[in-house]
């Protein structure tokens, strides 16, 4: 990873989220040299701790770094979203994103009858095309405000020239 070029770290909550993220990166148009999916944190509190302990400093040291936290909202979108907002320094907020399934990715997988990886690849395709069919699924629609910010910030990094 070139720290001096725009880049994105993805911190998945668990293995299901990890497979979603890796599926996203597998989309043919995604520049895999600009994105790194790090090992699953093992629960949303650990995602938050990992972000606080390891990535706040990285975001400060490298102004072109971005962090996407991929979590399960477990039906508690408002409170969980607020927990992450509290821990995100105001000056870094534009480069930090929290997205995930309303319940858990398993609900999405069961509804779509596709693997996590296939869903991730489809989500990348929609990001690139500016579509929101899958992103509008009831398990994902709550991400709309963050998604808009995410696409504006990250799309040029991942889908731009190498």
């Amino acid at each position: 990873m070139n720290w001096y070029a725009p880049h994105v770290y993805v911190i998945p909550e668990d293995d299901a989220d990890r497979q979603l993220a890796d599926g996203f990166v597998l989309h043919h148009a995604v520049n895999e040299t600009r994105i790194q999916v790090v090992p699953p944190a093992g629960g949303w509190p650990h995602v938050l701790k990992t972000f606080r302990d390891e990535y706040v400093r990285k975001l400060r040291d490298y102004p072109l770094a971005h962090v996407v936290m991929l979590i399960d909202f477990d039906g508690q979108y408002e409170s969980r979203r607020a927990a992450f907002e509290v821990e995100t320094p105001h000056d870094l907020g534009a480069r930090v994103f929290v997205v995930g399934a309303r319940q858990a990715p398993e609900a999405l997988r069961n509804a779509l009858r596709k693997s996590f990886e296939e869903i991730g690849t489809s989500l990348a395709g929609e990001c690139r095309a500016g579509e929101a069919a899958l992103w509008g699924h009831e398990q994902l629609e709550q991400n709309a405000p963050d998604l808009q910010r995410l696409i504006e910030a990250v799309k040029p990094i991942l889908f731009g020239p190498a």
């Binding site: 890796d22 597998l26 040299t33």
Partner: protein
């Protein structure tokens, strides 16, 4: 693309099926001795036949029969989907009493269910009904010539013969070559010959090759063959950072093991990029790479394969394991050296929590 591989009575593989249908890439994991490399050796048998090895004795010995069980036939089948057609090539061996080598019991090739040729012992029957005799110890596949309008045997031979089946030994990748070759050796020692053949036949491949290398080695500038001795050429790699006046040229053999792996991956990527999609099975592709490089390396190979090729890896590395999904990972297990290998997709295992932790606790491959 390989859709299915079936093997019976070969070393630890008994009634073994690897279902690769619909999987442009897949990972095979399992303990040491579970049969991962044996799968590659099965494919190498098909590769050898299609590259022209005609005698059974050079490919199969008595020790290859499961638990030396030479009284039962050994069988190999591979199903391929190529250009919209479905091919099945199968060959089985038997060991006659008092014989010093295995012989062919049956051999056949079919396309979309119709026989191209079939063979029982020495009698070969072609699709038009013509029959002829062949030495029991000689494969029919390399010796049958089709009429000009027929391409089935040629298509299968070209695909299986050009498979990349590697457990690279970077020390053997010196960059020296005497002639081009499209048949990459198992240790990748003839990498320079293969790169020479690819760029000679399809110069456009250099763009994809160089772009890949530059994405992982940013100061890479170019690679060229210079004459060495009477017949040979040596790969020279040039690095530079911005200013062409400050460049460094080194012989390929001076690169690190990991850097040589990057060049090998660039070769596979370039093959797929220029319309020569390849099947690649790479034993432990993460060997020699730093932790931060593994993920991008594996993802790159998976993406290259998705352009019509196919990539199968084996690994013990956590980062490689994480770059595949539960649906694209196969787990090989074997209770003991006396038991056969069992293959199951990782999706069949209800592991809890983190996959790597579950593997470390032996909850999956134990």
């Amino acid at each position: 693309m390989i859709e299915r591989l079936y093997v019976h009575n070969f070393r630890c593989l008994e009634n073994f099926t690897l279902d690769l249908a619909g999987r442009p890439s897949a990972l095979v994991i399992g303990r040491n001795g579970s049969g991962k490399s044996t799968v590659r050796e099965c494919l190498a048998l098909f590769q050898s036949i299609c590259r022209g090895s005609s005698r059974v004795g050079t490919l199969v010995s008595a020790g290859d029969f499961t638990r030396h069980r030479t009284d039962q036939p050994m069988r190999f089948e591979v199903e391929l989907a190529l250009a919209g057609k479905r091919f099945t090539y199968a060959v089985s061996f038997e060991w006659a009493a008092n014989s010093r080598e295995a012989r062919i019991a049956d051999e056949s090739l079919s396309v979309d269910g119709g026989a191209v040729f079939s063979r029982h012992h020495s009698q070969v029957r072609l699709s038009g009904g013509v029959t002829f005799g062949l030495d029991w110890h000689v494969f029919a596949m390399p010796v049958i010539n089709e009429p000009p309008a027929e391409r089935s045997i040629q298509e299968v031979k070209a695909f299986l013969g050009s498979m990349i089946l590697i457990a690279p030994v970077p020390a053997n990748m010196t960059g020296y070559s005497e002639e081009p070759s499209f048949e990459l050796a198992g240790d990748a020692g003839n990498f320079a010959s293969c790169l020479r053949a690819l760029l000679g036949q399809k110069p456009a491949a250099y763009g994809a090759f160089a772009a890949y290398v530059k994405s992982v080695i940013p100061d890479f500038s170019s690679i060229e063959n210079v004459e060495r001795g009477e017949r040979g050429t040596q790969l020279i790699v040039t690095f530079e950072q911005g200013d062409p006046r400050r460049s460094l040229a080194v012989e390929f053999k001076a690169l690190s093991d990991g850097e040589k792996s990057f060049f090998l991956s660039a070769y596979v990527t370039a093959l797929n990029a220029v319309g020569s999609p390849a099947f690649c099975m790479w034993d432990e592709p993460d060997n020699h790479l730093s932790l931060s490089e593994v993920g991008q390396f594996i993802t790159g190979l998976r993406k290259a394969a998705s352009r019509g090729g196919q990539f199968v890896a084996t690994t013990h590395h956590p980062e490689t394991t994480r770059k595949f999904s539960d649906e694209t990972t196969f787990v090989l297990t074997r209770k003991s050296h006396l038991d056969p290998t069992v293959v199951r997709p990782l999706a069949d295992f209800a592991y809890g929590g983190d996959l790597i932790n579950a593997l470390i606790r032996d909850e999956i491959i134990g």
